[in-house]
Symmetry: C2
Subunit: 286 residues, 2 copies
């Protein structure tokens, strides 16, 4: 027997254990992941440990959020490494269901969130947020945790999930954890493993660009101007920019002119075959 | 103070009371309605009383399940009568939220159930089942009852809700209650109030027709033949038939030829301006 965290694969087992914990009055946190865990995920598990008595980490690479041309088949997997990392953090339970446990053959229910998904990643990945909302609702209702924790790297996803949970009255507190970055600023992501050595060296420019724009806007200047020069810098470095935008941080309304509300800068770009995303808050004007 | 059942209008109040009951180990049943209660609804409340310790009846005319041309504005309402009837049955709690409690201005989540909704009422009322699935998921998650009870008169709705709850892992047992009929066979429905005296006299033909088809199929014969003569009989009596079909009772697969599985006969027709629906099981062959 290794000391790996207890791992279960069925909803029935999950509910049995959760009911036991509930009986003891434990506060429960869920950290949904697709595995291939890095420091970004681990920071969310730490946040969960700090706020709850019991921490469940789910590992499920959700087919419903990948389009046919996307990277479902090659998405990084590292079960042994994941277990080692989760054990080191004192994770109480790992829930790793098979596809058939989540989606029986006659599965036919789909959740769609509108408004928040109109732009940014929702434009270039029209399947994505519906697939995420559906699987996350399922995980919430399988586990019924007090809180669930998601990374701010997928900031739009965090808002979509929070809205979905509020709209459907799922009794869960959806918390966001800050983006964890490599030393050179690159936001941690399982997909960074796809980058060639040369691409990896250029990748931090995405963070540098959104940060430069955020700083500039906190001081002065017109959004479109800074966006334009940011796009140019990324294109010069070989990024194929999907979007580079400034939006309201609460409801993702697109912003133009000068910034006068809580705002964030959002970017997505292809570097070679790897899609990178990032976002930063615009610091408040002094 | 009248002896009417306690009525609340907010989710917060509902959750407080449910938590109290849960603390006592009570089993809780929810009966979702749109008010204008008749014996059909009351039979569901009685079924709930029999199976649970506490019964919550929700009354909410859900705008999301009406198309713009449908009868949302004129849908029958009878709050005083509803309360009297619910009191007589010993209903523990009535939950009657306002529209804004259910749908805040930035509400943006929608649940869609496919497959089961492809035909029957799903064809002529494309908004309907999405609106129903979304509001019922909300009611389930606001209340988190052990069981919820729906009438078999809306048989397709019952299956859609059961599928939705299973697919999203909502921990609720969805039970169906048998159709309650007037003496002459007409299925009870709030919309029967729309019928003129003359229409009311002709209305039972819908039940007679589906019953005749079901009996015939339990003995012998070809589905299409019986359907054809049934359609003719209804048309002769002034019904504008929307559908008259035989389908598998479990998954609503359309059936043809002779019946060899659990089957039901389903009908919907306009009589004047009133849309009537009905369904009966095909008795098993001896």
């Amino acid at each position: 027997m290794s000391g790996a965290p207890k791992t279960i694969v069925t909803v029935a087992e999950l509910r049995t254990i959760i009911a036991l914990w509930r009986g003891h009055g434990d506060k429960i946190a869920l950290v949904p992941t697709m595995g291939a865990l890095h420091e970004g995920h681990l920071s969310l598990v730490r946040l969960a440990k700090k706020n709850a008595d019991k921490v469940v980490v789910s590992i499920f690479v959700n087919p419903a959020q990948f389009a046919p041309h996307e990277d479902l088949a090659t998405y990084p997997r590292d079960e042994a490494g994941d277990m080692e990392k989760l054990q080191a953090l004192g994770t109480d339970l790992v829930f790793a269901p098979a596809g058939t446990e989540m989606y029986p053959p006659d599965f036919s229910t789909h959740i769609e969130v509108t408004e928040l998904t109109n732009g940014l990643c929702g434009r270039s990945r029209p399947h994505f947020f519906g697939g995420v909302a559906t699987v996350v609702a399922k995980l919430f209702l399988q586990c019924l945790p007090d809180m669930a924790i998601f990374g701010e790297k997928d900031y739009q996803q965090l808002l979509v999930i929070r809205r979905m949970a509020r709209d459907l009255d799922i009794p869960v507190n959806v918390l966001g954890g800050p983006i964890i970055r490599e030393r050179d600023g690159l936001a941690m992501s399982s997909r960074n493993a796809y980058l060639t050595k040369d691409e990896r060296a250029r990748a931090p420019l995405l963070f540098k660009t959104v940060t430069r724009i955020a700083k500039a806007l906190s001081q002065d200047g017109e959004i479109s101007e800074h966006i334009q020069s940011g796009r140019a810098a990324l294109a010069d470095a070989g990024f194929d920019v999907d979007y580079l935008e400034v939006r309201n941080a609460d409801d993702l309304t697109p912003l133009a002119g000068s910034v006068a509300e809580p705002a964030r800068v959002f970017a997505a770009a292809l570097l070679g075959k790897t899609r990178l995303i990032d976002n930063v808050a615009v610091p408040e004007k002094k």
